[in-house]
Every structure is written in structure tokens, then in C-alpha cells.
């Protein structure tokens, strides 16, 4: 309690705190007291609840102990003694079951309460779980109890039996509430009636917010219902007063309260047969359904397999007679099943209700009869007796027949079912066998298939295009030339650097595209590779083949594959041709003096441009596509070899130097790639894309970085690298 108090106190503190924050000062106190009260209420309820639960468990325990004692000390010894006229079972009927269910209930209750937070304990569920068996067992016990009680009384009248009984009682060691048999026997009744009371109380003291509340309400209703049923049952019995000792004397023998064991047995058999047949019908139908679903698919697969094997082998398979009757096995099976199994069983099932009603009628008659028994033998009593007995006899006799017949039908049907299944399996097996009669080594499958898969890997398109390869290819982008010509050692930076340093820029050329060696002493070049021309003729004197040094090796290449090297700018291959036709007008440019407007095709490493940045000349950015320039060389070739020589000579252009004939500056229109702000009078401001006319390609001091430009009547110097060759769009 102390804990509860402090916790309550804490809770209220929290509430206080919260409410203080939430509500304005004025209404604060009112809110406080309310929640405090609620809290107290809650606490009280929870306390009461745990008390009731404790009581419930404790009483159940005690009850269980009593039952145990009773069984051990009374029931079993009496049974063992096998006293002639003492029918223990009629006294105690199913007390063992009662004991069992009580033990179960107790364990469930304990489970629900140990190590579980009081706020989380759910007792209602326990009762709901157990209510079915509880009802059944207690019903039986209660049903027999009254009878038992009267039997007991009759026993008590007999001296001998009485002694036996008191002997047993004494062995109970005089527990206060176990003074006599009667009180022993009535215990279960009392207990089952206690449950509703307990649950009701518990329910009442469970706050609505508790999870158990709903379950408890349900459980309470259920347990109350149980009691009602039991009472109902008993009420029927109550029509029958205690049996007079005289009844026993008038020779009904052991049939005291009109019990017909034969009948009971038959009835039990009847019931279980009914249940069996019911289940069978249900399950077999279900099974049939599944088979019906599965079989067509199996058939289809067989047919398709046959087709496949047909087309593969390209033979006429005579056994293709199978498709003709392929659909039939399943239908056959279904039809047979219906005929042999389901129909009889269903018919049988439909026959059950009739007898069931009669059985019920018999019960009623029995009750009637029994109710008359206590009265004097009169007409009514006789009538009732006759009715009952007639019905009983009829039922007993015919139920036996019924049961037997039903049993036979059932076993027949089951056997048929099994046979049908067997045949179905055979058919299926045969079907599948027709497709591929060949034997097979299962272990080889994976080998064969892996082999095939490996072969796939060898296929080029798999190699090139499979996901893993794609990734690698992307990373190889820069080195794709390696893949194309793996045998040619790639020109590395070091080679290029070496070339650059060894040779002057005049001698440096670049491969326009991939050159394949055709003659001896030729070398292969990849696009963009840098070469230094050592000699502009070959051993035979032809000037179309030049001796070049790639840094790796020396050899000959056709000069047409080479273009002068322009390290000024690394340009992407531009599909657009920015040098259009008009530039051809100044072809003289290209014959005599070439602005080395080559763009670098291919992908030279960044290092090249870095190392050659110092060489970057007075030339600005030319948008010219290298290929255009290349074609000019083509043009050269087409002219004649003499002009070729000249043209080639003209190709010897220092990249950083432009040998420009000043006389031919008329055509030098450039545009400003970037805007340029003049910082002094000498300089000329440029707007982006502004056209300027270049007067001179160097300034007064000869600095090639500044050109003299004219625009809109103004002259001034502009930085060379801001300028691009004009293209007439």
C-alpha cells in the first residue's frame, strides 16, 4: 500500500505539474482536485482487483486440493475395493475430469498473473479460453449430481455401505468442510456457481481503461451462460425426484435411473460416425478440388513437353496418341470419385438427422417417464413407460444396424478413394513416361548447364555488354584504344613528353586517326597519338610516307594521316563543323601559311595541354574542326605532289608562331570568345561575340599574346586567347 501511495502521490504530482502548465491559473485548482479524485478511485479499484484475483486463485487452489484429496482418498479406494453394490461412478461421475479442468484453469490463471503487471493482467481471456471444456465437464457432473445425491442417500441407509463410506471420510482426516460425502460431492457444483460471482466482482472493480475489462465482461457472460445451461440441464433432471429405495426393489436392477448402456454406446457410435462422415465429405471434396486444379496443369505441361521433344527431335512420335485421351484421366477420376465416394457419403450424411431427432425424442420421453416414476403406477405413467420403452427398443435395435451399415459404407468409400488415388497416380506416371523415356543422370544436369553458361560468357556480346563489363568499359573509356589495338603499346605521357622535349614543335604531328601499318616498317598509330617527324620521305624517296618517332618506336606512316600538333587547346570532337565553306575562300591560307587551327581530336591527356601550355601561342581558340583541316590536306594531295611538298612545308608551322603574311590580313576576322575589358588606352574592349578585324598578330614588342585588333573604328590590343576564328554562321 505504501508503494501505491507514493506512486499515487507521484502521479498526482505529475498531474499537478501538467495541469499547472496547461490550464490558466484560475481553473487550476478545480482540475487538480478532479484528477486527484480520479486517481484515488483508480487506485482503489486496482487494489480491489488484485485482491479479487488473489482470492480467485487461492480458492481455486483450495478447491483443486480438495478434489485431489477426494479422488485419492475416496474415489480410488472405493473403486479398488470393488464393493458390489457401491457404484462409485454414479456417485462421483466425472470427478477426474473436473479435477483436470480445474488444474488447467489454475495454471492458466497463474500464468496470467505471475510476472505480469497488474495493469496488464487479463483474467477474462483465461475464462474465455476455457469456457468450452468447462461447460461440458461441469454439465456432466451436475447432470449426474442429483442422481448421485439420491444414490448416496440410498447407500447411507445400508449399513455395510455406510461403513465403507465413513471409512473413506475418516481418511480425509476431518477437514472442516469435508465432513461427509455429501459435502464432497457438492463441491464442484458450488465451485462452478462461484465463478460468475467472482467474475462479476472482478469486472466491477476493473476500471474501464483496463485491457481486461472487455474480456471480463465477456467471460462473465459466458460463465453465467454456462450456469444457465447447467441449470437447464438440471431442471430437466429435477423433474425426476430422488429414486425411492422401492424403485430399486422393484427389480429394475441396475437400471436405476433408467440408464440403458447399450443405447448409450450405440448413440456414441452414432455420433462419432456422423462426425466422421461429415469430415470425410468435407475433406475429400476439398482434396478433389485441389486435384481438379492441379491435374489440368500437369496435363498441359505433359503436352507441352511432348511438343518440345517433338520439335527438337523432329521425329514423328507415334505415342502422340496420348493427347487424345489426355484430358480424360482427370475427368475419369473425378467422375469415379463422385460416384464411389462422395455421393454415398453425402447420402449417408443426409440420413443422420432422422435418427438424431428420434434420439432427442427418446430423451424427452425418458424424462417424462422418469418424472412419472415417482408417482404411483398409473395410466399416465404406464403410457409414458410404454412410449419410452418402445422408442428405446426401436432405437437400440435400429441404431445398431444403422451404425454397422454406415461403418461399412464409410470404409468402402475410403477404400475406393485410396484405389482411385492409386490409379490416378499410375495414369500420371504413364503420361509423363511417354514424353521422355530416356534414362537420365541427374548429377550431370548442373555440369551440362554450367558448361553452356560458360560458353555464353565467351560470346562477345556477353563480354561486351554484360553489366559487369559495361561498368568496366566505362572506366576504360579513356583507354579504349587499348582495347582496339591491344597489341600496340600505348603511347603514354612519358613518351609524349619525351617527344615534346626532344623535338621542336615544328616536327611534331598528330595522328588524325588510326593508322594501320600496311607496308613493312610501317607502324600503327592510334588516333591522337603524337609523333615527331624525323624525315619527310621514305627510303624509296616518296614524300608521302614519313619516318616518324612515336617515342616508343620509329617507323613510317602516311603523311596524310598526320596533322601538325597543336597543343594549344584540347578540344572535344565536335560533330559540328564550325569552319564552313567560306573559309575555303582563303585556301591560300592553308597552302602557304597555316594557322595551326587544328583541334586535337581524340583524348590527349590533360598533362599534354599542361605541358604545352607554355607553348600556347598567340593563336586564340579556333573552333575549327581538325577534320576540316585534314580535308584541306586531302585537297592538297589532290592537287599534286609538288604543291603537296609546298603544303607540307607550310605545315611546318611553329604553333606558337604564326607566319602570317601581313599582306594577307584582310581576311583575318576574329570574334571575341569572351568579353574583354580594356584596362588602358592601348587595349580594346570587346563584347562577347564581337567581331574584330585583326591587324597584327603581335604587339609592338613582338609579344604574340596581344594582337592588334580593330572594331567599330577603334583599334587596340586584345589578348589573343580571347579570340576565336570567325565562322560565318
Amino acid at each position: 500500500m505504501k508503494e501505491q501511495d507514493t506512486s499515487a502521490g507521484c502521479l498526482t504530482c505529475t498531474y499537478f505539474h501538467l495541469t499547472e502548465k496547461m490550464t490558466p491559473q484560475a481553473g487550476c485548482s478545480a482540475a487538480e482536485t478532479l484528477t486527484q479524485e480520479e486517481e484515488h478511485q483508480m487506485q482503489r479499484m486496482m487494489a480491489k482487483r488484485s485482491k479479487i484475483i488473489r482470492e480467485l486463485i487461492q480458492t481455486e487452489k483450495d478447491y483443486l486440493n480438495d478434489l485431489e484429496l477426494c479422488i485419492r482418498e475416496v474415489v480410488q479406494p472405493l473403486r479398488n475395493k470393488q464393493i458390489d453394490r457401491l457404484d462409485v461412478d454414479s456417485l462421483f461421475s466425472n470427478i477426474e475430469s473436473v479435477h483436470q479442468i480445474s488444474a488447467k484453469l489454475l495454471s492458466l490463471l497463474e500464468e496470467a498473473t505471475t510476472d505480469v503487471e497488474p495493469a496488464m493482467q487479463v483474467i477474462g481471456e483465461v475464462f474465455l479460453q476455457i469456457k468450452g471444456p468447462l461447460e461440458d465437464i461441469y454439465k456432466i457432473y451436475c447432470y449426474h449430481h442429483d442422481e448421485a445425491h439420491s444414490i448416496l442417500e440410498s447407500y447411507e441407509k445400508e449399513e455395510e455401505l455406510k461403513q465403507h463410506l465413513s471409512l473413506c471420510i475418516q481418511s480425509l482426516k476431518g477437514k472442516p468442510n469435508l465432513l461427509d460425502m455429501g459435502s464432497l460431492m457438492i463441491k464442484p457444483i458450488q465451485r462452478v456457481m462461484k465463478y460468475p460471482l467472482l467474475l462479476c466482482e472482478l469486472c466491477g472493480s476493473t476500471p474501464p481503461s483496463h485491457p481486461d475489462r472487455g474480456a471480463l465482461e465477456e467471460a462473465f457472460a459466458a460463465v453465467k451462460g454456462i450456469n444457465v445451461n447447467i441449470n437447464e440441464f438440471k431442471r430437466r433432471k429435477d423433474l425426476v425426484p430422488r429414486v425411492e429405495p422401492a424403485a430399486k426393489d422393484c427389480g429394475k436392477g441396475r437400471h436405476r435411473q433408467v440408464k440403458d448402456n447399450t443405447f448409450n454406446r450405440e448413440e456414441k457410435l452414432f455420433r462419432s460416425l456422423e462426425k466422421t462422415v461429415r469430415h470425410c465429405v468435407k475433406n475429400i471434396s476439398f482434396c478433389l478440388q485441389n486435384i481438379q486444379d492441379a491435374m489440368p496443369l500437369a496435363l498441359q505441361s505433359v503436352m507441352e513437353l511432348q511438343e518440345i521433344s517433338c520439335s527438337k527431335d523432329e521425329e514423328e512420335r507415334g505415342s502422340l496418341g496420348a493427347p487424345g485421351n489426355a484430358p480424360n484421366p482427370c475427368d475419369d477420376f473425378v467422375a469415379h470419385l463422385q460416384k464411389l465416394v462422395l455421393t454415398p457419403l453425402s447420402a449417408l450424411l443426409s440420413l443422420f438427422p432422422g435418427p438424431q431427432k428420434l434420439i432427442q425424442k427418446r430423451y424427452d420421453k425418458l424424462l417424462d417417464y422418469n418424472s412419472y416414476l415417482q408417482q404411483e403406477a398409473g395410466d399416465e405413467s404406464n403410457l409414458a413407460k410404454k412410449e419410452y420403452e418402445a422408442l428405446n427398443a426401436q432405437l437400440v435395435e435400429e441404431l445398431q444396424v444403422f451404425n454397422q451399415a454406415a461403418r461399412k459404407i464409410l470404409s468402402n468409400c475410403l477404400c475406393s478413394f485410396i484405389t482411385l488415388l492409386r490409379d490416378l497416380m499410375l495414369v500420371a506416371q504413364q503420361l509423363y513416361s511417354t514424353v521422355q523415356p530416356g534414362p537420365l543422370l541427374v548429377s550431370n544436369i548442373s555440369e551440362i548447364q554450367n558448361q553452356v553458361l560458360e560458353e555464353f560468357q565467351n560470346l562477345n556480346f556477353v563480354k561486351d555488354n554484360s553489366a559487369t563489363f559495361i561498368e568496366r568499359k566505362l572506366s576504360f573509356e579513356k583507354k579504349k584504344y587499348v582495347q582496339i589495338l591491344p597489341e600496340v603499346p600505348r603511347q603514354t605521357d612519358t613518351h609524349r613528353a619525351k617527344l615534346l622535349s626532344t623535338y621542336s614543335t615544328e616536327e611534331l604531328y598528330q595522328a588524325k586517326r588510326k593508322c594501320n601499318a600496311t607496308q613493312e616498317n610501317d607502324i600503327n598509330l592510334l588516333e591522337g597519338e603524337l609523333v615527331a617527324v624525323m624525315e619527310q620521305k621514305d627510303p624509296l624517296g616518296s614524300t608521302s610516307r614519313w619516318l616518324v618517332d612515336t617515342g616508343i618506336m620509329k617507323g613510317y606512316v602516311y603523311s596524310s594521316f598526320l596533322k601538325p600538333y597543336n597543343p594549344a587547346k584540347v578540344q572535344k570532337v565536335d560533330a559540328e563543323n564550325r569552319l564552313c565553306d567560306d573559309d575555303f575562300d582563303n585556301i591560300s591560307l592553308f597552302v602557304s601559311s597555316r594557322p595551326s587551327s587544328d583541334s586535337v581530336t581524340g583524348t590527349p591527356e590533360g598533362s599534354i595541354s599542361d605541358s604545352s601550355s607554355s607553348l600556347s601561342g598567340t593563336f586564340g581558340k579556333f573552333e575549327a574542326n581538325g577534320t576540316d583541316v585534314d580535308s584541306f590536306q586531302e585537297v592538297d594531295e589532290q592537287k599534286c605532289s609538288s604543291t603537296l611538298a609546298k603544303g607540307i612545308a607550310g605545315c611546318h608551322l611553329a604553333l606558337s608562331m604564326v607566319v602570317v603574311d601581313p599582306d594577307k590580313t584582310d581576311g583575318w576576322i576574329f570574334y571575341a570568345v569572351h568579353a574583354f575589358q580594356a584596362r588602358s588606352d592601348h587595349e580594346l574592349s570587346l563584347q562577347e561575340y564581337q567581331r574584330v578585324h585583326i591587324l597584327r598578330f603581335c604587339d609592338l614588342s613582338g609579344n604574340k599574346e596581344w594582337w592588334l585588333a580593330e572594331a567599330q573604328g577603334q583599334k587596340g590590343y586584345v589578348p589573343a586567347n580571347y579570340l576565336g576564328k570567325m565562322t560565318y554562321a
Binding site: 485441389n290 475406393s416 562477345n460 555488354n465
Partner: protein, 199 residues
């Protein structure tokens, strides 16, 4: 299907009838054993098929993306080729002036590598695709065989099991018609019972 069959036998087994009738109990126990074995075999069959058919199928299917990619690339190469080809033709149609000729040559130069590339791709695919397709035969045949075999084995086992069962339960084994007649007879007998006719 095997699951529902097992359920049949389970329900039967749990039925109180078994307690009362020893024969019935035996029959049902035997049935139950048979059904359980059926279930086990079925599971085994399923596993087997999974291993030898389903998984190889998946693996085979995984090659197709590469193939698609290769075809796509060829397609792209074809486009490039066509484009450049058209350009070349365009230049060829023009009057043969110097610049035009220059452009023509240049275009032809461009065309050459692209055409080569396309042809290479084309040839490669033409060569390899048939190989790929043809290999499917070798690849799948074992799978199919395995499938068939698994089924055959399964069904023959089942047949045996049920055959044994019928032997065990039903030595005389009356043929179907007889059973049917018997059933009918019993049913009519039942119907004749007064207790059934009532109500």
C-alpha cells in the same frame, strides 16, 4: 493437394470413432501414414524441380539483357552509319567543286570507321546470336528431362504407396461396381430403417 489429403487422414485419426473401432483405427492409421509419405515425397519433388529447372531458367534469362544491349548498340551504330552515309550521298550529288569534293572526302573519311564499326557489330551479332539460340537446346534438355523424371518418380512412388495401402486395407478388393452396389444396398437398408424414415 497433398496437404488436403493429409488433413483427411488427420481428421479421421482424431475422430472418436477410432477409439471404438479397432479396425477402423488401423485403417485410418495406415491411411495417415500413406498421406504423410505422400506429402514428404511431394516436397522432395518440389525441391528437386526447383533446383534443376527453375534456377537454370532464371540463369538463362539473365543473358538476355546483354543481348539486348548489344542489339541496341548495333542499332546505334546503324544510325550513325546511315546518317553519315546520307551525308556522303548529299555531297556526291552536289556539283563537284573543290570545296564540295573536300567535304566529300572528309565525309567519306568519317564514314569509313563508322561503317566498319557497324559491320563488325552486325557480324558479331549475326554470328553469335544463332549460337546462343542453338545452345538453348543443350541447356534445357537436361532440365526437361529432370522435370519429367521427377514427376515420373513421384507418381510411381505414389502409385506404389497407395497400392500397398489398398492391399493392406482391403484384401479382397472388390471392383468398383461391386462397391457401388454394396453402398447402394446399405443405403437403401438404412433408408428402410424406421428411425430414419421418421420426420
Amino acid at each position: 493437394m497433398s496437404k488436403s489429403a493429409v488433413k483427411i487422414s488427420l481428421d479421421l485419426l482424431s475422430n472418436p470413432l477410432c477409439e471404438q473401432d479397432q479396425d477402423f483405427l488401423n485403417m485410418v492409421t495406415a491411411l495417415d501414414t500413406a498421406m504423410k509419405r505422400m506429402d514428404a515425397f511431394n516436397q522432395e519433388k518440389v525441391n528437386q524441380i526447383q533446383k534443376t529447372v527453375i534456377e537454370p531458367l532464371k540463369k538463362f534469362g539473365s543473358v538476355f539483357p546483354s543481348l539486348n544491349m548489344a542489339v541496341k548498340r548495333r542499332e546505334q551504330a546503324l544510325q550513325d552509319y546511315r546518317r553519315l552515309q546520307a551525308k556522303v550521298e548529299k555531297y556526291e550529288e552536289k556539283e563537284k567543286t573543290g570545296p564540295v569534293l573536300a567535304k566529300l572526302h572528309q565525309a567519306r573519311e568519317e564514314l569509313r570507321p563508322v561503317r566498319d564499326d557497324f559491320e563488325a557489330k552486325n557480324k558479331q551479332l549475326l554470328d553469335e546470336m544463332p549460337r546462343f539460340y542453338n545452345s538453348r537446346l543443350d541447356y534445357f534438355q537436361p532440365s526437361f528431362e529432370s522435370l519429367i523424371r521427377a514427376q515420373v518418380v513421384y507418381y510411381s512412388e505414389m502409385h506404389k504407396i497407395f497400392g500397398d495401402l489398398t492391399q493392406q486395407l482391403d484384401q479382397p478388393g472388390p471392383p468398383d461396381e461391386q462397391r457401388e452396389r454394396e453402398n447402394e444396398a446399405k443405403l437403401s437398408e438404412l433408408r428402410a430403417l424406421s428411425i430414419v424414415a421418421d420426420d
